[in-house]
Symmetry: C2
Subunit: 330 residues, 2 copies
Amino acid sequence: MKLTQEINHSASDLKSIFETYLFEKAFEEFPYVLLQPAMQIMRMKAKRLRPILLLTACEAFGGNPETALDAASAVEIYHNFTLVHDDIIDKADIRRNESTVHKKYGINKAILAGDAMLIHAQQLINTAAASINNFDLVKTFQKTAMDVIKGEQMDVDFEDLPEVSVEDYLEMSRLKTSVLLAGSLKLGAMIGEASNADLEKIYDFGMNLGLAFQIKDDYLDSFGDQKTFGKKIGGDILQNKKTYLLCVALKKANENTKKEIFNIIEEKDSEKKINEMLAVYEKCDIKEETVKQMETFFNKSMKSLQEVSLVEKKKEHLLQLAESIYQRSF
Amino acid sequence: MKLTQEINHSASDLKSIFETYLFEKAFEEFPYVLLQPAMQIMRMKAKRLRPILLLTACEAFGGNPETALDAASAVEIYHNFTLVHDDIIDKADIRRNESTVHKKYGINKAILAGDAMLIHAQQLINTAAASINNFDLVKTFQKTAMDVIKGEQMDVDFEDLPEVSVEDYLEMSRLKTSVLLAGSLKLGAMIGEASNADLEKIYDFGMNLGLAFQIKDDYLDSFGDQKTFGKKIGGDILQNKKTYLLCVALKKANENTKKEIFNIIEEKDSEKKINEMLAVYEKCDIKEETVKQMETFFNKSMKSLQEVSLVEKKKEHLLQLAESIYQRSF
């Protein structure tokens, strides 16, 4: 399919155009000796959320998504690189019902394949930047990439801390998850030649959407409907994960409740552990506070999108994307 | 010290200027959460060969080395990133009498610190490229960076192969070691605004120098003078490393000698193993052939330097550097 500027592509159109490019073009110059391990993760069924955001933003500002396919490949390959190294760090053997790269090819090959993917992502963004003579595209990508690594390191550090402040939690979540959504949107808008004011707005739109999404993810893990959530309720509690809920609970708790929480963290009986933590959350009104916070971020996200200087019709696809991401229907 | 174009700096001048910049400026925007592990390796005593080559090439072509300090930092930080991930892969606990990054900070932090260093190196090269509006600087850096990873993967793969061809050995050595020397020289020459023809020559100069250096390294490990070589003679033989010597020996050997070599590879007694392999090398004239090959590469390197269109005086420092690298006095 040849893209033309007249057409406003749906997310599923863009996904199919993107995946064709990703597999037929984007890896043409990737080192053969590391192609198999890279493909082990790239070929897994995936939503391609970041490239779709990038291409949608590009088109919203009047750019031709075809000119943004290298940049879209860069963010997707970068994202997958983080998963390859993260799976080593988390000792995760399975991802989407398949072997992770290090499980299948060993840690050494997974480290080097990740390194090659990180370099390749930058090669693609450099190609994209050179074609429009805009060094800021590379700079924005690199800042985003570095923020994600920083967020991952914070997340790793959190595991060894007894307590994490709500501010630190939000900063980690901003860096680890939200900046790459925001950065993808900004890169697409840059290729679409958006104004600096709009670049800021579109970035804030993605950032707040990411935070709303992440907090809702934490919320659903404790209070979701197991059927629609897809994962077992209470997984975060069992893993003693520093979720938004736990950080707020520790902040609000008095000395006694704090002791109670630390006891629950030591609890070995799974069902008892989950029920006791949910009871603490109930007592501290965590459910209401979390809903309020995620709605606040989502509303901020919507406000930023409203402030983007495009006619409503041009924003339609971005709005639909945001809603389906937040509603978990993407 | 303020650099001016009139002065032709010695390698040790450039080293000191470079290290000042590296520690006072280059890490200013590096993520604080990963600064300690990155510094664990960056602060180790080092020759700074690659940045010195880069700065010397820049100055030879009339560039001001001060304008090349970001690029010089990029190649040095990139080189150190490869060491961080390589030490994990090689399970090496000690480097230059100090703990390696993963030994001191754990594998997880070492993976992420390496990733951050790889991104940071690219941020620095992008800054350098943007300041002279030359996307090719980033492209050259990235191609070089990717080649090195490819070479590392080949090296890892070699460990599991019974036999490696001389061609594959040379390709691995070209990628793993030589391209970064060649790439550093080329980047410096690009900043010094060398012509395309000279960029090719300076690249070939570095490439052949790197190959000469690597083959000599293999040679010295078997035939060197233990006092001046610094390492114990025969280390490569004990580790069954696919050196230039072993690859040539396997190529030249008849069926019986080949069997003999594979038996030596299985030998457990260290002294016996070394002596028997040296005897095979003697029988197959490996010593002479290796000397011939390393001299061929060194002469090619010198020829490429001669062909660079600069007056002899401007090439003096590059020539001195090449000789001291080859003579192991750098």
